[in-house]
């Protein structure tokens, strides 16, 4: 019996080649995108699974009175908390302090470096491939490598006990190698060193007081811990110990599992969007299969009737359809699996890789996804196999055998609601894509308050081997640049727009009793000139006037406003507690968008630093006459090639830097675009099937109308009118939803476009055009058919 079913199914699929291929195509593309979306969601939720006992791990989050918050705390706080709270089982810091250079056999390596307390493994029991968790961080000169780093330096050997030279002077013994960590994990480690190593470092010691918040702190709590009570106790410690406790609104104990969304809030949007999108695509695929199945049913009613007369039970009719659909579904799952591995996964990594890490697929690890997809496949097969058949199986044999279906009115309404649903979803995605496109275009082209064209950017923090020699050559380059007629401005700075450090300091104005948290950066006297940021009050930096120890500063308008000042006359930037006279404020610049437009312009201060301080600046910025970029670029690059450094010099353009801020959101746009195209494509496939079904049902009507003189155009209109109306209804339903979703989303951007009516009209037109085209294809075909033929067969 099964063999027979299989045989008939294959022949049926073969006979309706076009339909089968359309079906297979829609299914494969749809399923592969669902697979991709679900896989990334799955990878996201399981990425930190290797951390045992995650529920009892928390991190501290500082809430400031001004509404800001950050994950860093002053260094001594952790020890105080651990010592005074019995419910805290262990605590550890995990923070960077510059990436250390490692040397082995004459080769040098640099990887992300984190410093942790010896109790690190009591909090995060990350499994080790080699080595022992208990002793790995006990010794001062130890180092733990990730599997990737270990592979790079030592190959497949067990490196435990071997030594590496760290920062030219330290003899570090490898004490452990981590098991491979999911790239999706919140742990992006390279090498881990014990923070006891830093305790001799004078700059580090200077930072570890009660006023500098620079290290995240993680706690492992007893399962029965009263988190609220502990929070209160920690806040008490903060009030007792902080240099400036008045700034702090509170300390939150955040579950570790929430850290990822805390760091990149848009993750939440991506994940919930992915889930929604995959559900929608799945729904569309299902509806589509239902529609296409229905469309082949006309012929099938006869088949079913004949089978019933020959003694077939309902069960076996349903089985036949399930098998036929099952073949389609599972072949397309296979194809989509291949698509997923060869096309979608690499693209996913390109899109989200920089933010999320590289995702890979491993059957042994990720078999739940495979099983899930299989389960969905079986379920889908059952639904699309059983539902249409049940409807048709009820047709009385005596009617069915004539190839007719009896009354179909109710069913038609049901199917129409399916079409409306499909197109609502498709149009929703198209609208989102259109609006998001506009927003990104707006952000990329908006007036940012500074010049970004024809500006070359060089990364100059290169870890120079011989700093004095490097400085000499750099000064020569600066002179050459300033003398070059094609160069209109040269600047060195710690930051450039799109790449400012998250370096905040609180300054206090005694006159107003105002405490203002300001972002800090360093720049030379050429910075604002090169970027053409206008000075609105006071003056720009000046090499001769500002080269004293006082370190003159220029603030932006937002900072001026935050202090409540109207003039900078005699004003200084001061710490609240310090007796230090503070920085003289020499000027105010117009607000410019030094961050992307998802964020508002916050108070910002630039502290003067000499142009020639190569070791302290990160960027060299050069404004060039249009058309001369290549030549100047060449000049700069060859100068840096002559300077020996550990890192390689990198040259880029400010326009690219600014655009790259939107990489993630562009990735989202790309996904939305693909989903939109996909949903409309699959919906149209279903519509194509349905209208051929309709045309078949109306063969006689078309024939009679033609004999009576109807033109081809009239018949095309007759066939497609209803569907165009359906798409119109779907459009009307989709717009308010799209408006609501996008309004909420655009609200998260500090600077956003307002949604205009024409965006919806554009989305609607796109959908209607595609629909009309699909409909037209089939409608014209039926309309030009010879009426003599169609009337005879009836």
């Amino acid at each position: 019996m099964l063999k027979n079913h299989l045989k008939i199914s294959l022949r049926n699929l073969w006979k309706n080649k076009t339909l089968s291929i359309l079906n297979l195509l829609g299914l494969s593309i749809g399923v592969s995108s669902v697979l991709t979306l679900l896989f990334s969601v799955y990878a996201y939720y399981t990425a930190d699974e290797h951390i045992p006992d995650q529920k009892s791990i928390f991190y501290l989050k500082t809430q400031l009175k001004d509404g800001n918050s950050y994950r860093e705390v002053p260094y001594p706080l952790l020890e105080k908390v651990v010592n005074t709270s019995p419910e805290v089982l262990a605590g550890t810091h995990l923070h960077g302090w510059g990436n250390i250079w490692l040397e082995k056999g004459g080769k040098e390596f640099q990887h992300r470096t984190d410093y942790a307390d010896p109790e690190f493994f009591e909090v995060f029991a990350l499994p080790l491939k080699f080595g022992n968790q208990e002793t790995a961080l006990k010794e001062k000169y130890s180092i733990i490598l990730t599997d990737k780093v270990s592979q790079q330096i030592f190959g497949d050997q067990n490196p435990v006990g071997k030594t590496l030279i760290g920062a030219d002077t330290l003899n570090l013994t490898v004490t452990g190698v981590f098991e491979p960590i999911s790239p999706y994990s919140s742990f992006r480690l390279g090498v881990v060193l014990p923070n006891t190593l830093l305790k001799n470092n004078p700059t580090f010691i200077a930072q570890t007081d009660w006023s500098n918040s620079f290290s995240p702190a993680y706690l492992k709590l007893r399962p029965d811990t009263d988190v609220t009570a502990l929070k209160t106790r920690i806040e008490q410690l903060v009030q007792e110990n902080y240099t400036d406790p008045a700034l702090i609104a509170g300390m939150d104990l955040m579950p570790y599992a929430e850290m990822r969304t805390d760091i990149i809030p848009v993750v939440d949007t991506i994940i919930s969007g992915s889930i929604a999108a995959s559900l929608f695509v799945l729904l569309i695929i299902l509806v589509n299969l239902l529609n296409l199945n229905t469309s082949t049913m006309l012929k099938r009613t006869k088949d079913i009737a004949v089978r019933k007369v020959l003694g077939s039970s309902k069960k076996s009719v349903v089985a036949q359809f399930c098998i036929e659909n099952g073949i389609l579904v599972f072949v397309s799952i296979l194809i989509s699996g291949i698509l997923f591995l060869t096309v979608n996964l690499p693209r996913l990594n390109d899109t989200f890789g920089p933010e999320f890490g590289h995702i890979s697929f491993d059957v042994f690890k990720d078999y739940p996804v495979v099983l899930g997809v299989m389960a969905i496949g079986v379920l889908a097969t059952m639904i699309v196999g059983i539902f249409p058949t049940l409807r048709f199986i009820k047709v009385p044999v005596t009617i069915g055998i004539k190839g007719k279906m009896g009354q179909m009115k109710n069913n038609f309404l049901l199917r129409n609601s399916f079409i409306i649903l499909q197109f609502t979803i498709a149009i929703l995605f198209i609208s989102i894509a259109v609006i998001l496109n506009q927003q990104i275009r707006f952000m990329k082209n908006a007036d940012l308050g500074f010049e970004r064209n024809n500006i070359l950017v060089g990364h100059i923090d290169l870890d120079y081997k011989d700093l004095d020699a490097a400085k000499a050559k750099f000064n020569a380059l600066l002179n050459a640049l300033e003398d070059n007629p094609y160069v209109k401005g040269v600047a060195t700075s710690q930051a450039i727009p799109s790449d400012y450090y998250f370096n905040y300091t609180n300054y206090y104005d005694a006159a107003n009793d105002k405490d203002v948290r300001i972002r800090r950066s360093y720049a030379d006297d050429g910075y604002f000139k090169t970027l053409q940021v206008p000075i609105v009050k006071g003056r720009d930096f000046n090499r001769d006037m500002d080269a004293d120890e006082e370190q003159a500063v220029i603030i932006n308008e937002a900072a001026l406003k935050a202090f409540g000042w109207t003039s900078i006359e005699g004003k200084r930037l001061k710490f609240k507690t310090d007796t230090d006279p503070g920085h003289p404020i020499v000027g105010v610049v117009k607000d410019f968008h030094y961050q992307d437009l998802q964020n508002a312009v916050e108070p910002l201060v630039h502290i003067y630093r000499d142009k020639k301080a190569l070791e302290k600046h990160r960027f060299l910025t050069v404004k060039v006459v249009e058309g001369q970029e290549k030549q100047i670029e060449h000049m700069i690059v060859s100068a840096f090639n002559a300077i020996s450094s550990r890192r390689e010099y990198e040259q880029s353009r400010l326009t690219d830097k600014v655009s790259s801020q939107y990489q993630l959101i562009e990735g989202i746009l790309k996904s939305v675009n693909i989903t939109a195209i996909l949903t409309i494509f699959i919906s149209c496939l279903g519509m194509f099937g349905l209208i051929s079904f309709l045309a078949k049902r109306k063969v006689k009507e078309i024939g009679i109308r033609k004999v009576l003189g109807a033109s081809v155009a009239k018949i095309v209109v007759l066939l497609s009118k209803d569907y165009i109306i359906l798409v119109g209804i779907a459009t009307l339903i989709a717009f308010p939803i799209a408006w609501y979703v996008m309004n909420a989303w655009l609200g998260t951007f500090a600077y956003s476009i307002s949604i205009k009516w024409w965006m919806f009209v554009l989305a609607g037109c796109i959908a209607l055009l595609i629909t009309a085209f699909t409909l037209g294809l089939q409608a014209v075909r039926s309309a030009v058919a010879n009426p003599v033929k169609s009337l005879r067969t009836e």
Partner: protein, 221 residues
């Protein structure tokens, strides 16, 4: 006695009016009879055949088939009954297009839980008997109308039914093909004792039968 119809009525209600499709039909069929049902279009021939074949229901009256009272049976038992004892032949053959001749013949057996070897033997026997061994791997579309109807008859016979119901079996065939099918029916009736009820328009075909029933407006005359 094979079957007996007592006072069978069947009607549809259109616009508040009852239109009778069958009106007070009384009919007794003995095993081994060859009956032809005749009458003009719309006189209820096909409806009568469908009622006898249990594909269609009736509104009033009694129907006994092999001492089972069909009118009291549930749908499921009814269909078991006709699967077991009745074979159908259609005007437009109704072979399954995606199956070969051989597979079409095998189809009813699949639903009757015969073993694979048994099925093969029965199909081979039938192909042999109808002289269509050479065509066993062809699809219906590759056969002429007469040949298709031959397969249709073979398919109806393969389950060894007591009764064959044929609704204008020659309606789509030319005269020579018609004659062949009629001769086949006659042979089946005479030699194998199969009871046959056929609906036909043609006097010539009707003459092959042992009895003729004439219908007019749903009434036996």
């Amino acid at each position: 006695m094979l079957l007996k119809l007592n006072n069978i009525f069947k009607w549809v209600t259109t616009g508040g009016q009852r239109i009778f499709l069958l009106k007070d039909i009384n009919l007794e069929v003995q095993e081994g009879e060859f009956i032809s049902v005749m009458g003009p279009s719309g006189s209820g021939k096909s409806t009568l055949l469908n009622v006898i074949g249990m594909l269609d229901t009736f509104d009033e009256g009694e129907y006994n088939f092999l001492d089972e009272s069909v009118h009291t049976l549930k749908e499921k038992h009814r269909s078991n009954l006709y699967k077991e004892y009745i074979g159908f032949v259609f005007q437009s053959y109704h072979l399954l297009d995606e199956l070969t001749v051989q597979e079409n013949l095998e189809m009813p057996l699949l639903y009757k839980k015969y073993k694979g070897s048994e099925r093969k033997a029965m199909v081979a026997d039938m192909l042999d008997r109808f002289n269509i061994v050479g065509k066993k791997d062809l699809f219906p579309a590759q056969l002429s109308g007469g040949q298709q109807q031959l397969v249709g008859v073979a398919r109806a016979l393969i389950g060894k039914p007591k009764l064959i119901l044929a609704d204008e079996p020659t309606g789509n065939l030319n005269s020579q093909q018609s004659e062949e099918i009629m001769q086949l029916f006659q042979k089946l009736n005479k030699e194998d004792g199969v009871t046959i009820i056929q609906v036909t328009h043609s006097e010539m075909n009707a003459a092959y039968g042992s009895r003729i029933i004439n219908l007019l407006d749903g009434r036996k005359i």
